[in-house]
């Protein structure tokens, strides 16, 4: 019999390094936590006495809110450090700040940063667990897990599915996390968008590259549209939003080329009328709000596992817990 996988990592920095078993462990743990948010009393004591710091050094509303609710539903003590109130503008390096947070005996540091690699850098420097809440264009592992979880919930499986990720792949941390997670779990991933935003180097990462959404959408089981940052036009990656939307925006007409059970996802926030037309974003094939709901369970799983993984670091084990065990 196969030994059940245990979580032994101090940090969650990305999906690239995780094994298939570790991904499934996270998803199973999220499944176990999913039901808590449906209770009238939405709280379990799994992280009681633990301190979680949310440090979002880049604007974020929904990911921060999702982590905050996740930490609170696990009964953790929560501290928020916002850019304006942090000392990062006072000449301290990010490592100084992290060492100070560590010195306050924090258990988990949830870190978002506009620079790729900062969570990895910080995780190496401090003993606290670090959860990457999005770093530059690198990874957004919890969003990647949300997408995996949502696909598994909606489709019942991931293996063998055809998933098209469309938009600004080059700058997207969600695209990278999705790519690693989906390919490890057996999906076929196509990265689609204009060549300026889907460089051919991505082919070497195990994805199919396409510049024609119409050709891909008819085959797809899942399409994940990415947010297009408005500054890409100014940076001349695209001629205009209109040109981008014409080829890569999903409206009702384009959606009709796809299978009837094609689902549409988006990490949010949606530029309505750019990546998705409003009727598609709000339509029956959209699972965008389910992604948001699932985000809390997934982030509860992430916080819980890294916290336990660190507590038992070296001895190495955090077995998944089932709802009955965490029932308050």
């Amino acid at each position: 019999m196969k030994t059940p996988t245990r979580w032994t990592r101090k940090d969650l920095l990305g999906l690239e390094d995780l094994s298939r078993d570790e991904l499934n462990l996270l998803l199973d743990q999220a499944k176990a936590f999913q039901e808590i948010s449906l209770r009238p009393i939405k709280k379990v004591p799994a992280l009681r006495g633990k301190t979680v710091v949310l440090s979002f050094l880049e604007p974020s509303t929904r990911t921060r809110a999702s982590f905050e609710l996740a930490a609170k539903r696990l009964s953790a003590d929560l501290l928020q450090i916002q850019p304006a109130s942090s000392s990062l503008v006072k000449g301290e390096t990010i490592l100084d700040t992290a060492r100070n947070i560590e010195a306050m005996k924090v258990d988990v540091l949830v870190l978002r940063h506009r620079d790729s690699g900062v969570p990895a850098m910080v995780a190496r420097a401090i003993a606290s667990s670090v959860v990457n809440a999005g770093d530059g264009s690198h990874e957004h592992p919890t969003q990647g897990l949300v997408d995996l979880f949502t696909i598994r919930e909606e489709k019942g499986r991931i293996e063998g599915l055809k998933v098209v990720i469309v938009g600004d792949i080059l700058h997207s941390r969600v695209a990278r996390s999705d790519l690693w997670g989906l390919t490890k779990l057996g999906a076929q991933v196509t990265l689609c968008g204009p060549p300026t935003l889907v460089p051919s180097t991505f082919e070497s990462l195990g994805a199919k590259i396409s510049y024609t959404l119409d050709a891909e959408i008819s085959q797809a089981d899942v399409v994940i549209a990415l947010r297009l940052q408005m500054e890409r036009q100014k940076e001349r990656y695209i001629p205009s939003l209109r040109e981008f939307t014409r080829h890569y925006g999903i409206d009702r007409q384009r959606l009709q080329r796809g299978k009837p059970d094609l689902i549409v996802m988006h990490p949010g926030p949606v530029n309505r009328g750019v990546e998705l037309s409003p009727e598609v974003a709000d339509g029956p094939q959209s699972v965008i709000l389910k992604q948001v709901t699932n985000g809390i369970a997934v982030r509860m799983a992430a916080l819980y596992l890294v916290s336990a993984g660190r507590a038992s670091h070296g001895a190495g084990s955090a077995a998944p817990i089932v709802p009955s065990e965490v029932a308050g």
Binding site: V118, A120, T201, S204
Partner: protein, 433 residues
Amino acid sequence: MKLLIKGGHLVDPSQGIDEPTDLLMEGGRVIALGKNLKTNGAHVIEAKGKVVAPGFIDLHVHLRTPGQEHKENLTTGSQAAIQGGFTTVCSMANTDPVVDTGTVVEFLKAANAKVGLVNLLPFAAVTVGLQGETLTEMGELKERGAAGFSDDGAPIMNAGVMRRALEYTKITQLPVVAHCEDTHLSANGVAHEGQAAARLGLAGIPSESETVMIARDLLLAEATGGRLHVAHVSTERGVELIRAAKARGVLVTAEATPHHLTLTDEAMGTYDARFKMNPPLRAERDVKALREGLRDGTIDAVATDHAPHSRAEKEAELSQAPFGVVGLETALGVLMTELVHQKHLKLSTLIAAMTLRPALVLGIDRGKLTVGSPADVTVFDPLREWTVDPSAFRSKGAHSPFAGWRLRSKVTDVVVSGRVVYRDEQFMNGEKR
């Protein structure tokens, strides 16, 4: 007093010497070479088992003086050079103020004389304030001590300005040292645009940001008959372009750094700014091409592009941390260990790339140990093993991409103009510093 280096294996590419030979010096000059030279009251350095070479020449060093002495000063920079076996270094002009007037050149020469360790050959800027617009007074700058011209770190984007600068080299007979980078292509990049950057989510610096400019500058050098030296070549195509230009007779020389000769962009996986430099670490095929270029002479010289920064500056996030790594104290060890001991390069070829050939780039009478030459000598133990520990560096910069590496070859003794400045891995006491 006479100085005799005895029993060593002398390598002097200028004379084709690569065998046990004694070296006798007096009055700051070489006065004799030969087997079993008589001691006759000379001060003797026993060099049995060691390699005796002309003092190394580094065409590309940032000494950060004047104005950025928190990163490096002439004392720490000179000591780092000597520890690495470099007796002559060319300092880059991107200081504060910029080296764009004779006054700053003379300041550097005078300040270096006070430190009294290395021969300092300052490069002056090609354009006033490194702005890429108005040429500096290159003729006067040469008269006042400039050894070459470079806007290193601030690529000259205006081809018209570059063309005129190359025209002027026909007066100065000094090279324009070009940092070849099209800044529109490199933009906000921090790492080589390749698989690693795609994976790591790092903004890319494509190979073409270098090759497009190498191609431009080669064509301009060809058209003008000017003297071009291409700094820190990092790409396979760049090597090919230079090789072809040399075959056509273009007056071009080129250098490569120890890090570009030994490391690839895979090192960026740590997100550690001690691997962040410009040009960036490239792909495996580029490393191979640079090594081939060094073997066949397309790459004339090894230069460190020693670029110290303070620890706080390099501890910043990758996008905020400045470009540049330190290299003076590890160059020989890295190149001996990775290239010579691994049989990728002959010892004499490496020594030529660190002595005679950079001297030819500059047109100076150093980098050789013929009778009558300045007595700049570096003695190293080719088998001595050591571990790179940046906290033991003389340089103020500790950001070495080779930290923790186990190297084989270490400089033991250094003679500058006949004066022993470094002996048995120690700086000489009582010498003016």
